[in-house]
Amino acid sequence: MTEFENQNDQLRRIADREYQYGFVTDIESDTIPPGLSEDVVRLISAKKQEPEWLLAWRLKALHRFLELLETEQEPTWAQVTYPKIDYQDIIYYSAPRPRENLESLDEVDPELLATYEKLGISLSEQKRLTGVAVDAVFDSVSVATTFKGELEKLGIVFCSFSEAVQKHPELVRQYLGTVVPYSDNFFACLNSAVFSDGSFAYVPKGVRCPMELSTYFRINSAGTGQFERTLLVAEEGAYVSYLEGCTAPMRDENQLHAAVVELVALDDAEIKYSTVQNWYPGDKDGKGGIYNFVTKRGACRGKRSKISWTQVETGSAITWKYPSCILQGDDSVGEFYSVAMTNNRQQADTGTKMLHIGKNTKSTIISKGISAGRGQQSYRGLVRIGPKAENARNYSQCDSLLLGDECGAHTFPYLEVKNASATVEHEATTSKIGEDQLFYCRQRGLSEEDAVSMIVNGFCKEVLRELPMEFAVEAQNLLGVSLEGAVG
């Protein structure tokens, strides 16, 4: 065995550890048959007792989507490959049953609570361990939101999207689709037609949200797509930190997750949005796994507003995702910190867009890509400095780390500068976990797995330190687990 083979063999072993969230919860669901049509959209809207304007919006999106579908405009520019998706073969709505309007957690199905406990997410408000308010979305609907009362006292709204439509229709109507229009792109369009739930948060003027808001998404039913929609609004001077986590059962089929997230920050507002994405990645031969085709965008509408995206992406068979910032307000700031890991046959095409419109706008992009196994990964980032963006500044840093010689890393930076006063910097590196680094760590007594985990975590440090404390540890462990079997 050559040294090369030996090392790859060791890499494989660490990569081969199993996904630990792959269980299925046995629960009765209210599911509508597969297929996409006006009837389906009307049915979803009716189930949610939505106002007429929202149904009309959904239908516009549906017709646009069907048009895109007929003219075969599913995007193909990303560096990912997958068999054609049959959009008539997806279940667009599945909800745990029975579900009345829940007044307290006691009314939530114990099976569901047990599921979230198993995922390490406590929905019980008595356990105020982390001081995190959680909205739990199971298949298509939100099943529980914690700490609501406490937040309401401050005027903060944090609830499921469906509930927001009922209780705060004016807010939803004012902001929905203003950052990501229904016609924005193929998957956003599909989402706008069939979205079933998601989270909504609104932080009023001058309020600093005292706890992390968090949504945990869980796909359970087979053959189901998950299409949630998240909308966060921070008024003047408000601050909110939000985290989302996601897991799914292990299934041989691929499941589609096409979410939309919209953020709006007014003057002096700040939104920190963190994601720990751990959808089922498929098995080591690439069978099964989630297609994570997601549109996330934040609008810094106000002066001196700030939106910061932090993502740790270890799951999904395919990731197609570019959390972006529209820097409209003067002196606004956009940040993107990303760790993406692809192992086995996972593919990821991810990055960001920073659109500088206002004066003195500033953006920072730190992207760390880790590829192991036969993982393929691309960083795709656009920095656009508009003609009126005087003194705009961008700094981009894209680092790739390769484990083994069967994986790939690619970088596609796009720069469009239309104002000569702009300063734009881009740095990129590609490195390999070297035999010498591993030997050094092991010579000091560390196991090869601990050594790899340490080297990878060190590589991601600049991003991990942006995560809220409670989740940084989770993310570190996740990186370790996702790499199990990957190196030696």
Binding site: E435, Y440, C441, R442, Q443, G458
Partner: protein
Amino acid sequence: MLRLEDVHASAGDAEILRGVDLEIRPGEVHAIMGPNGSGKSTLANVLAGRPSVHVTRGRVMFEGRDLTQLSTEERAREGIFLAFQYPVEIPGVSNMYFLKAAKNAVLAHRGEPELDAMDFLAIAREKMALVEMDEKLMQRSVNEGFSGGEKKRNEILQMAILEPKLAVLDETDSGLDIDALRVVANGVNALRSPARSMLVITHYQRLLEYIVPDFVHVLAGGRIVKSGGKELALELEEKGYGWVEGAAAG
């Protein structure tokens, strides 16, 4: 403590060690000298268990056990330490975190309780004084941006903290100016003990003025061609490696 019998070893297709015999008893300091390409670093790698170096013949016994049956990390935990000729950088991992993880891996192996951050810091501070190392280096990433001298001090610091039974110093003097060399040598000398053996690998006699060995061996062409006391180093310095290489050929 360590016994090598007719050890042959190769890296890739090339056979580099061609029958090395060596015995080191507890508390002894042995020096290995030899010209470039004689197999000095390969010998160090054989002891530490570098995966790319393979023992093809002979026996490597450490405290009565066959070392080749142990993984790299098992050897380290059993008390074999290699001070690297070229210490490796690990970006983003603080020196403190790295060393604490290493120390605890060794302690866990011995069935001793692991150290918490405070206990570890106390030990680290004491050992840092030994190699006159700036405390700030503990917060920096492992070896990243360290000067040559700082890297070598860091190696000796690690050795002091890990308290090995057998320390192998691979060209620890390379790239050091005379002041740094003295600091490093003082650190090493402070770690000499009746229970700890050392194998000092060097190209030049200079290091051995500071770390005085009990025995000197000359490695040439993958074999130990001459052994003697510390005076052998001086003789070599005077006559050059051509002298022993000639002997090896003859």
